[in-house]
Point group: C2
Chain length 347, copies 2
Amino acid sequence: MKIAVDAMGGDYAPGVVVEGLTIALADFPDYDFVLVGHQAKLAFYLEKYGIADHPRVQVVHAETVCEMSEPSAISLRAKRNSSITVCAKLLKEKQVDAMVTPGHTGATVAATKVLVRTLPGVDRPALAASLPSQEGRFILMDAGANPDCTPVNLAQFAIMGEIYAQYLFKLDRPRVGLLSVGGEDIKGCELTKESFKLMDQLPINFVGNVEADVVFEGASDVLISDGFAGNVMLKGIEGLAKSTMFWLKRVLTKNALRLVGAMLAKNAFRELKAFGDADDVGGAPLLGINGICIIGHGSSSPKAVRNAIRVAGECVTFGLNDRIIAKINETHSTTAELEKKLAAEKQ
Amino acid sequence: MKIAVDAMGGDYAPGVVVEGLTIALADFPDYDFVLVGHQAKLAFYLEKYGIADHPRVQVVHAETVCEMSEPSAISLRAKRNSSITVCAKLLKEKQVDAMVTPGHTGATVAATKVLVRTLPGVDRPALAASLPSQEGRFILMDAGANPDCTPVNLAQFAIMGEIYAQYLFKLDRPRVGLLSVGGEDIKGCELTKESFKLMDQLPINFVGNVEADVVFEGASDVLISDGFAGNVMLKGIEGLAKSTMFWLKRVLTKNALRLVGAMLAKNAFRELKAFGDADDVGGAPLLGINGICIIGHGSSSPKAVRNAIRVAGECVTFGLNDRIIAKINETHSTTAELEKKLAAEKQ
């Protein structure tokens, strides 16, 4: 098992990434690593964490970095030698089994789409974000890789999401829902109405339309959406979570009594904040590309980097991509036929 | 000024609605009311709040109710005599200047679309929800009336939203943003990319693409979206807010120390909860129909009902619809020309 790790990605690179890698080296003695980044900038941290000449770490130089603030559209063209692009090349050439980056989501999606390409039979890759629900977590996908989607794209996301949930939640038949604006079958936009008919025919545990609010109460294990609505939902709840902490601080610091109360309960607020963290999952996989790629949050902790590496390795061992290819293949005729039928009905 | 009030709408009807009306009668001595609902069921509450024979309240009987749990699709056809339909009829026939319902959003949109129709020049009405930002509020529209939209629809929503924000926030030039998946101009889906070009030409204070997270930090006063993504965002943050309260309770009741802390700060949590309430605004107007229609939350309090009535009256006095007609008219040639140009470019 060989995993490429983008050392330059994220807000606290490369220190946090090297620290995360150091934990992974101890925890996963069977994994080999290719650490991709600016060699001169990495040297200090490799020394600091005592892995400068580690037998299982090979350092590959990457001249540039995709800064988190950069537009993703220019990254691939302008930055052929960025750490993300170098990782994607290693994945493409099968020099590694998987790649992990806590870096620029847009740039990673662009680089892997172009260089690594999709799995046989898969039209579009999708970003599978993991979000907290009241009693566990659920997967939202596509969380932003494809702003415009077709019903077949969504049907394929459903298959990929089911298989990823089988791995992540250890469920045989995870419940797959379609993000929509009403619970009833006939509700939704043109895209979801057509997608509903396709998904209803697939050999998955399809639970129908799911509204964005009930999913936090555990209405489905996987929530399927186009990348526009999915990203709006993801960003919307991220923004609200951040503002809730802002409001909470404001109301709790209004007077001395409240301040004392807040201090007594301060561990509770720490725990509340942690609900939003994806540290245990480490990041969101980009499902459907011809390789395993885990994209961590820009603000990933060392623990998150370590867990993204764990998830990457486990996805390889689980045979995630082989399972996706097999099920996409198995359902191909159903999907194609139904698509033709729906197109004919429309005319 | 005459306002129709749907007495049967919402989770606590008709008691809460009659109580809200009673406050409104005292606060707005110039308003006359038509209370629409089941006469026998209303009698008790009219008696209870001492407005059984109020000179400014006329009761109009409606045999049925659209229950909140009912699919909206069947409401209009099956329920010709529901309180919502009767209100819409009164608005259509200009027997009232405005209507207020804390009832079924989908059924209200359907009934007013069909019966009251849109303003001259307006293609589609849009639901304008008001949401909290860190230092104030912002308007999200369309919050769910139109799951599928065209760029011209979104451009018209921008104009209507600007005028509503001029009234609601007392701003001369409210900042109008386009909900998208990236801040840069070129990011988004097909719909938003085309809409961006149209909105950029309008005589409004257009601030470009706005992501769903920064809007809570006050990135724009009005956030324009199709009704699918808008509803996903609205429901997503409603769901998260509810679950945050669930998680907060769970972490605060874990041990005695935290419980004491929580008790000392309990007013802070009450305040936090109130951030989400739209009680001051009373509800969301359906902008673009040929009349004023305010749709309150199903769980509206008497204060919310009273404020929905206030907003309805103020929108009439402000001349909201005349201003919308004028600006839609003024920008019609710009929009139509640009639309033609964009269509030609596509071919």
